[in-house]
């Protein structure tokens, strides 16, 4: 197991390197000039060239990438071209905010999805099953930024129950786990939870249904086990597959909430990436994507380890 762990961690290094390189090249290939993030649009050419030299953007691309990499291995992600602030100064609170949002959304989505999926599988073909499948399909199909807007109109504008945007009455810097702050989390988290809810519902339904048809369940019934006891066995057998899907979904929630964070002005990594993309803010883009990629790899590793712990049949040599 230890060897496996070390190998997986080592695998993450080339992945991170490749992510950094691809991100760097994509920004270079995309039309536009990072210098626009620094100087006014109509800055004279001499000023533009001077600033380009000052920021090292006149150096050959391999040199720029090498310099960035050299700093990264020392834990320095550089400074934002647009704001001049250290990337980590923006990235750390952004990751924390996105993690908060993603975990709450995942909690809602996974719990609801598991419940709905199990109910649908147990009562296969019933009205409950159809309702659960319908909800799952809606969750996967509805564009979540649209749903977010609708929820804002209903719960913020019309009912005035919940805030329309932001991360707390004093911003995310003063976040506390009380209702005054948590109410800012409700709408974005619910909005973000609908896709994992739909996917988990469908996965759980499929896996549980398949398990319910297996011989060992018939045997359990034959032994006189009640429904609750059977459910325990089924859940345990379903867990590895469902966990794999949940791990992937959590990863997507971390990296894929650009639209929801924009709709709710939630100051997470999606919000950060959104403005960095438009400004060609290369250090912020590279730093954020690198951290998200490492998070994704780490999450997959954790899921694999949990799967192994739950199901000894899965061997990790």
């Amino acid at each position: 197991m230890l060897l496996y762990l070390i190998r997986r961690v080592l695998y993450a290094v080339p992945i991170a390197l490749a992510v950094g390189l691809v991100c760097f090249m994509l920004v270079q290939i995309a039309p536009g000039d990072p210098i626009n993030a620094i100087v006014p649009a109509d800055a004279p050419q001499e000023v533009v060239e001077q600033v380009r030299r000052d920021y090292g953007l006149d150096k050959p691309l391999p040199v720029q990438f090498g310099l960035w990499l050299g700093r990264v291995v020392q834990g320095d992600l550089g400074r934002s071209l647009a704001t001049g602030r250290p990337v980590t100064a923006d990235l750390v609170p952004a990751v924390a905010n996105t993690l908060t949002l993603a975990l709450v959304a995942a909690g809602i989505g996974f719990v609801l999805g598991t419940l709905l999926g199990t109910v649908a599988a147990v009562f296969r073909g019933s009205l409950l099953d159809k309702a659960a499948v319908g909800l799952a399909a809606a969750g996967v199909s509805v564009p979540h930024y649209w749903l977010g807007m609708v929820m804002v109109v209903l719960f913020s504008v019309t009912l005035n129950w919940l805030p329309a945007m932001g991360a707390g009455p004093g911003g995310s810097g003063a976040w506390a786990w009380d209702w005054a702050h948590a109410q800012f989390l409700v709408l974005p988290a619910v909005t973000l939870s609908v896709i994992p809810m739909g996917i988990v519902t469908r996965t759980v339904r499929g896996v549980v249904m398949e398990l319910l048809n297996q011989d060992f369940v018939t045997t359990l019934r034959g032994k006189g086990l009640r429904r609750g006891g059977i459910a325990l066995h089924v859940v345990k057998n379903a867990a590895p597959s469902v966990l794999a899907v949940m791990g992937l979904q959590l990863g997507y929630l971390m990296g894929g909430s650009i639209l929801v964070e924009t709709v709710f002005s939630w100051p997470g990594t999606g919000f950060l990436l959104n403005s960095a993309i438009f400004q060609r803010d290369l250090p912020v883009l590279q730093g954020t994507i690198l951290v998200l990629a490492i998070f994704f790899v780490a999450l997959n590793l954790v899921v694999d380890l949990v799967q192994t712990a739950l199901d000894p049949r899965i061997r990790r040599a």
Partner: protein, 536 residues
């Protein structure tokens, strides 16, 4: 169907919700607080020179800091003018017009209590103009150096006087000083000579102090009760700037009472905002949405008839309707209210019949159209409803025999193209661009686009327009130290630009703001510079 809050509450049995579940009321009890939803994704730089363009000066520029030469921001019914700021007077030496003497205001202190004087001015100039200075700040320099193209040298004459020298005689130089703000040298020393720390704890001479900064989220500005200018003493105790870059989000935040005022509402939400009791405030604003036409050899736009036809084919009233009424038809680079508008003989209007006649005279028709390609922005700051507007105009032109194919790019890409100019290899086949921009002073409205010395990539004369008469007017204006004469000469430049239909003029932004019912006394100046001290 209208969904009433009470009906829904009743229907869901939630009338008795604990009050803690509902949002707090808009206004604070003990101090007068206004929360302002701004369209920026981050709080502009707070260390002295704001980034994010002219519109950012109202947030972290003219609130925390003061310029030497200021803009009159408390008038809405006419264009403002240059007024004393931290300099009480400025005058070019009659013996050497390149040397400007500025008398500094006495008795002004920074927020940290240190005195404002000539040393502070020189220190601030070194901060942004001299890369060798120990306190040189690249970030601030990148913002303001391009705004001070004429400045060559600076020196202290005495504690209350500085001398600035320009590269050439430039009577319009005081307009450049509007952009230069003064921060505290003492605070910089106190904070360990760190501009990062200074940005969190800035010190200027302005009417507000920064109380709290949460990057990318909010800035809280509190009233500076020791402010030197009673006319600009803030009427509220605290202004909270809240970043809300998405227009729909911003508008919803106002509707739900989460902020008290917003800039630039979502256009299709304006009726809803109004019906909720909010006020929409707008004014003439120095901005023009236009097309710059290439004047290079081979460009069809070298033909005056086609340039005029392109202008006459557009129904600007329809464009304004498309923009929810929150815009003004453009008949020139500047609004007719501007002293630089003049009296052009070519009247920019909607006349498709005349447009068709001119196109035919130039050898084209709807059956045999002129085919060309423009580079346009997909959206972005100042570009209004870029794609719908472009597509509307594209259709209008097609009807008179001009068939334009668009190359839509992100605004940042368009800016690069703008600086490169029409002759750049990346512009092959492109005969116009449609960057919209600020036109707040003669340099920004006219000089940078139409003087032959400003041809890209030196300046942003993208079109490569070169005209001795236009150059002459501009040169004369820059040599004239009589403001009325400067205005007259700039008006001649503008007349020439319109008469030659050098641009396709479309619309002026009106910089709409929506004020909640609890906001009073906001004065919207005819500028991108706004004064938050007028908010009450």
């Amino acid at each position: 169907m209208t969904l009433s809050r009470r009906a829904l509450l009743g229907a869901t049995g939630l009338v008795g919700l604990p009050s803690g579940l509902l949002l707090p009321e808009a206004s604070a009890q003990s101090e007068r607080v206004l929360r302002y939803g701004i369209s920026m994704a981050d709080i502009p730089l707070t260390a002295g020179q704001p980034d994010r363009g002219a519109g950012a000066y109202q947030f972290t520029g003219h609130t925390i800091y003061d310029p030497l030469v200021a803009w009159e921001m408390d008038v809405a019914d006419r264009p403002g003018k240059l007024v004393p700021g931290l300099a009480t007077s400025w005058e070019a030496d009659p013996a050497d017009r390149k040397r400007w003497t500025l008398k500094l205001r006495q008795g002004v202190t920074f927020h940290d209590g240190s005195a404002f004087d000539a040393d502070a001015v020189i220190w601030n100039l070194e901060k942004v103009m001299n890369p060798q200075a120990p306190h040189f700040d690249q970030r601030q320099a990148a913002q303001v150096r391009p705004r001070l193209p004429s400045l060559a040298a600076w020196k202290k004459l005495d504690a209350g006087t500085v001398e600035l020298t320009t590269k050439t005689v430039d009577s319009l130089f005081p307009y450049q000083l509007l952009w230069f703000l003064v921060s505290s040298p003492a605070q910089y020393e106190k904070l360990g000579r760190s501009w990062d720390r200074f940005a969190s704890e800035p010190s200027g001479t302005g009417p507000f102090k920064l109380a709290r900064l949460v990057p990318r989220e909010r800035a809280e500005l509190v009233k500076n009760t020791a402010y030197w200018n009673p006319a600009r003493m803030p009427k509220v105790d605290r202004v909270v700037l809240v970043c809300a870059p998405d227009a729909v989000t911003r508008s919803n935040a106002l509707l739900s009472g989460q902020v008290d005022l917003i800039e630039t509402p979502a256009l299709d939400m304006v009726p809803q905002l109004k019906s909720a009791g909010n006020r929409v405030v707008e004014n003439v604003t120095p901005h023009v949405w236009n097309y710059h036409l290439s004047m290079l050899e081979g460009s069809p736009w070298r033909d005056l008839r086609l340039r005029q036809a392109a202008n006459l084919a557009i129904n600007r009233d329809d464009i304004v309707s498309l923009l929810g009424g929150l815009a003004k038809p453009a008949t020139g680079v500047v609004d007719p209210a501007s002293p630089w508008y003049g009296n052009p003989s070519f009247k920019v209007r909607y006349d498709p019949t005349e447009a068709r006649r001119l196109v035919q005279a130039a050898g084209f028709s709807p059956r045999n159209p002129l085919k060309t390609r423009f580079i346009i922005a997909t959206g972005g700051s100042g570009q209004m409803l870029s794609m719908p507007m472009n597509e509307f105009i594209q259709q209008s032109w097609k009807e008179v025999g001009i068939e334009v194919e668009f190359q839509p790019v992100e605004l940042e890409v368009l800016y690069t193209a703008w600086r490169n100019g029409a002759a750049h290899e990346s512009m092959r086949g492109i005969t116009a661009n449609n960057v919209a921009y600020v036109t707040s002073d003669p340099l920004y409205a006219l000089v940078r686009f139409f003087h032959s010395k400003q041809v890209a990539p030196v300046g942003v004369n993208w079109s490569h327009y070169s005209d001795a008469e236009t150059d002459g007017f501009i040169d004369q204006a820059m040599q004239s130290f009589d403001p009325a004469e400067q205005d007259r000469l700039m008006a001649r430049v503008h007349e020439r630009v319109v008469d030659q239909a050098l641009l396709v003029f479309v619309a002026h932004d009106t910089n709409p703001h929506v004020l909640g019912r609890n906001v009073r006394n906001y004065v919207q100046a005819q500028h991108w510079f706004q004064d938050l001290t007028t908010l009450a």
